[in-house]
Subunit: 228 residues, 2 copies
DNA sequence: CAGTGGTCTAGACCACGCC
DNA sequence: GCGTGGTCTAGACCACTGG
């Protein structure tokens, strides 16, 4: 299966997998959205170039880096507990003054600084957790395995910013270098806020690439099916 | 239909529109992706808050601003033809030295500067076009109506940057203010490159908001359907 | 034209939320 | 339980690409 190769037709593949064609199509669509296959109406389905476009399919840092072809690593710079300020409490949807676990990590790609990440988690969500376990581990895996918590979703904002003194030093870039600021709030399946993460990414090393679809297909006219 | 209201169940709606439930679902899914409806498994489908999340569903500037609740406008700062530098030629996939139409526009939201956009179009794609028609018009509509060209897609990169002197002046921000840099290459249906656009957005006024899905649904186990 | 992906149907069953 | 969305099926027809 090399880049550019065509997949067997859907009508052939579906029975081979023992599923209906519609079902196969939905599966293929998922892969197409990931950018690893491309369809051509009337022609076929083809293997796409490796990193055609990740868009903003947000995953963990490690996953993201791997998809970009870099080797991710991580170093914990600071870890400890603090009492939530009113502002932080609001983000985490807890009471002001509650205990919060805070971990600051330097994220590296191919051993070079890529981002500084400050993670806040309500202490009662992760009892007895120390900073240790996080040094090169995935926080999400840890949540799942040790606490049985699965994330159900979240909201992330992306802003353009510049590095301050501390960030510049950690990221090894000049003061006021361009950077991305990500702020993410994630929730568990029960709706409870599990984390608030603030990440500053080096603007010279990180960029998005988004594939655009035709803004609006403009539907030829849509079927005359609707009688009303 | 206010925010938070539930839609009638799919099984009721589908026959009302004279379509099969699966078809209705696909239509609803589209709206959900636009962020205007939300589904809750086992509960219903609900009208979402107005600007819940556009993610990076990229549209035109005007469309984007409207969705954000701002009034878009535009002012042409410069327009003319030039011969393509090797670098620009490569982006537009034309020969170095070919004529290129160049338009610089200030994009405003609620009458305040939001972005500077530099548009490059191969001159042979838009014969006899002057900068005039673009002052407050959509370039894409113009392409469609005057030249019969419909965009089929494109690639956009997003970087963090800071404003230079010229941009700072135009955008009315201090020198070296945080900003987003978008670069977009769009193609017509025949694959030909139609435009290369470079946009600098004020970082203090523009931000993304992305809703995150559970990183990987982790499929309970998938049906035992596949016999192979 | 044959072969491909794109869409729709009508109905079944599963999984989840809520009372 | 009951009502909701979520998924699958088997087959039909449409729309596009290519020789």
């Amino acid at each position: 299966m090399d880049v550019g190769d065509a997949l067997p037709p859907e009508r052939t593949l579906a029975p081979e997998f023992g599923v209906a064609r519609m079902t196969l199509r939905r599966a293929i669509e998922e892969v197409v959205r990931e950018g690893r296959l491309k369809r051509k109406h009337g022609a076929g389905t083809f293997v796409a170039g490796p990193k055609i476009a990740q868009g903003l399919a947000v995953t963990s840092f490690s996953e993201d880096m791997r998809q970009r072809g870099n080797v991710p690593s991580s170093r914990t710079l600071d870890a400890g507990e603090l009492t939530a300020s009113p502002k932080l409490a609001k983000r985490l949807e807890i009471s002001s003054g509650e205990l919060v676990m805070r971990v600051v990590r330097l994220r590296l790609a191919d051993d070079a600084p890529m981002a500084v990440e400050t993670l806040h988690v309500p202490a009662r969500v992760v009892p007895e957790l120390e900073g240790e376990a996080l040094d090169d581990a995935s926080f999400y895996e840890l949540l799942h395995e040790r606490y049985g918590i699965d994330l159900a979703g979240g909201v992330q904002t992306i802003e353009a910013t510049v590095t301050d003194e501390r960030e510049s030093e950690i990221l090894e870039v000049p003061l006021h270098s361009p950077a991305f600021l990500f702020e993410r709030v994630s929730r568990a399946r029960d709706g409870q806020v599990v984390e608030f993460v603030r990440s500053v990414y080096r603007g010279d090393r990180y960029q998005f690439r988004v594939e655009l679809q035709p803004a609006r297909p403009a539907r030829t006219d849509d079927h005359p099916a609707g009688s009303a």
